[in-house]
């Protein structure tokens, strides 16, 4: 079991990250829903799991995180800033002229490994990094965070076939299964479920969790790796999590919050923390 203190600390950290996302989403029309659904996962990764060094983002022994669902960039920026990769105040420059914080991750941002935004690119790249580390005999791990709508991209499954072939037990695919894509519910566009069955049939070690239950998230991420094969974590989440008016709605994908909506959500976070 995870000590309550670890889960509690991470839950408080996740509140800080959500606060940034919600505040920025009152200033900008942005991809808020998928950032909120993945916020707990990103918190656990950056504040408990990943071996990273904000003072030396490119150090050789770091773990790699690729946010393949690049539109959830606010969760990444908030996590990187909170973790010390760049000053938290810089978050205010999101999508502003001359700043470094574009609407999808770029190499200008300390801690970003790969510029993403077009879906289905992260996992093949993750496979390549993981192969390189294995050939070196290096202990680095590679985490690739994807969306469930992204499972519609064929390139995901090309890489899903390749990773077990190369016995990449240093590779973890995390699917943020929030059940919505840009236009509508995934089930109403092209269904991708059952995801655990799919990854299992591709010979991955599969762990299915509630992506908002920090104890489950940490337990899943700490259980890794299973020798000889890659791991897929299917994380059931809620799109727009913690903003009541957005949760499980198509609107959550890309919107701006009114001050009232944001205030209500922030009050809710205070209760949580």
């Amino acid at each position: 079991m995870i000590p309550n203190s670890v889960a509690g600390r991470l839950e408080r950290q996740a509140v800080a990250i959500r606060r940034h996302i919600i505040e920025l989403a009152t200033e900008h029309v942005c991809h808020i829903g998928g950032a909120l659904s993945v916020a707990d996962l990103m918190t656990a990764l950056y504040f408990h799991v990943l071996k990273v060094d904000p003072a030396d983002p490119r150090r050789r022994d770091r773990d790699y995180l690729i946010l393949s669902k690049g539109h959830a960039v606010l969760a990444l920026y908030a996590a990187l800033a909170e973790r010390g990769f760049f000053p938290v105040e810089k978050l205010k420059t999101f999508e502003q002229k001359g700043g470094m914080l574009a609407g999808h991750p770029t190499l200008k941002v300390p801690g970003v490994e790969v510029a993403t935004g077009s879906l289905g690119h992260g996992l093949p790249i993750g496979v390549g990094i993981a192969v390189a580390c294995k050939v070196e005999g290096a202990p680095n791990r590679v985490f690739v965070v994807m969306g469930d709508g992204e499972m519609q991209e064929g390139s995901v499954w090309e890489a899903a076939l390749a990773a077990p072939r190369f016995e990449l037990d240093n590779l973890v695919a995390i699917v943020d299964h929030n059940r919505f894509q840009a236009a509508n519910a995934v089930d109403n566009i092209i269904p991708v479920a059952p995801l655990a069955d799919k990854w299992g049939s591709f010979r991955w070690n599969v762990i299915e969790i509630d992506g908002h239950d920090m104890a489950q998230v940490v337990a899943a991420l700490e259980r890794l790796p299973e020798a000889g094969r890659p791991t897929a974590i299917v994380a059931h989440t809620v799109k727009g999590k913690s903003v009541p008016c957005l949760e499980n709605t198509p609107r959550a994908h890309y919107t701006r919050l009114t001050p009232e909506e944001a205030a209500e959500a922030l009050r809710g976070l205070e209760v949580t923390s």
Binding site: E113, V114, H121, P124, V127, G128, V131, V135, A162
Partner: protein, 309 residues
């Protein structure tokens, strides 16, 4: 010394590079061993099967870890199916990956248009930060490959069904055209397999009293614009020749330079905005579509006889 005698093929060069540098990797698609490198360093020779997106993405990942990666695959599939990965994962993400392709131009012959690559130069040239090389013979291929390794960043190297063209040693530099023949009436700017045809066209034209120079344009991007402008200023008439469509490749690149400089008249030899659907061998397809010395000769004569500078 015979310039072509000691030439190393890509697989032979890969072994040399791999022996010297443990960071050298090759990623290929369903083609078995890439020569002795694959036998000697199986862990650094990945065959990712019949994929293109994954092929290029895996290469980008290896390069993210600092590897020097060769992608080795078939031109039509890598450049078209894997285009966005080349553009975004390699070029936008600034990866040190060299894409070495075979099955270029019309080499696929009777296999049909699915296996012809007549758009690859156009596609690769459109990508910011991409270096695009199209050598003309085995010797120049080796120099292009070695040159690509010296460059940081993504490079596209278009192989071909080559026979020796260069007989004497010459200064090779990526981005610099190689003057092969002089001539005051016109300049043939050729790339890849068409360089050899251009030399033959030069000989045929000479017999008719027309002096056509020949430039070997092994680098499509960055194009040697100065050489193009100089040729246009000294000979007026320019004919481009490429085993590629006339849209977007060497012909278009030269046209851009000429139009911006306001000099020269241009004719483009290449596949004319069409699929090569005739069932025919590779040489026969080249004949049908005018990718021959005769085709170049006609284009030069059309400019000479058409009058004007």
């Amino acid at each position: 010394m015979n310039l072509q005698a000691a030439v190393k093929s890509f697989p032979e060069l890969l072994l040399e590079l791999g022996d010297a540098n443990p960071n050298v990797f090759v990623v290929s698609q369903d083609m078995g061993p890439v020569g002795p490198f694959s036998q000697k360093y199986p862990e650094r020779a990945l065959d990712v099967g019949i994929t293109e997106q994954n092929l290029v993405g895996v290469a980008a990942g290896l390069a993210t870890r600092g590897k020097l990666v060769f992608v080795y695959g078939m031109a039509p599939f890598v450049t078209m199916r894997g285009f966005e990965q080349v553009r975004t994962d390699l070029a936008y993400n600034e990866k040190n990956v060299k894409i070495v392709v075979y099955f270029t131009g019309l080499v696929g012959g009777p296999w049909g248009s699915t296996h012809h690559a007549i758009e690859d130069l156009a596609l690769m040239r459109a990508i910011p930060g991409m270096t695009v090389l199209a050598p003309c013979d085995p010797h120049e291929t080796e120099r292009c490959l070695r040159g690509a390794v010296e460059l940081a960043g993504p490079v596209y190297i278009r192989m071909g069904a080559f026979v020796p063209v260069h007989e004497q040693d010459y200064a090779f530099q990526i981005g610099r055209a190689v003057p092969l023949r002089g001539g005051s009436d016109a300049t043939i700017i050729a790339t890849g397999t068409m360089v050899r045809q251009a030399i033959e066209a030069h000989n045929r034209l000479k017999a008719r009293g027309v002096q056509a120079g020949v430039l070997d344009m092994h680098t499509i991007k960055p194009l040697d614009a100065a050489a193009v402008r100089d040729a246009a200023r000294t000979t007026g008439r320019i004919v481009t020749a490429e085993e590629h469509g006339v849209i977007g490749g060497l012909g278009s690149a030269v046209a851009e330079v000429l139009a911006e400089a306001g000099v020269g008249r241009l004719a483009r030899v290449g596949v004319q905005d069409t699929f090569c659907t005739e069932v025919a061998s590779y040489p026969e397809l080249c004949e049908i579509h005018g990718l021959t010395a005769e085709g170049i000769e006609k284009a030069v004569l059309s400019l000479v006889e058409g009058g004007g500078p």
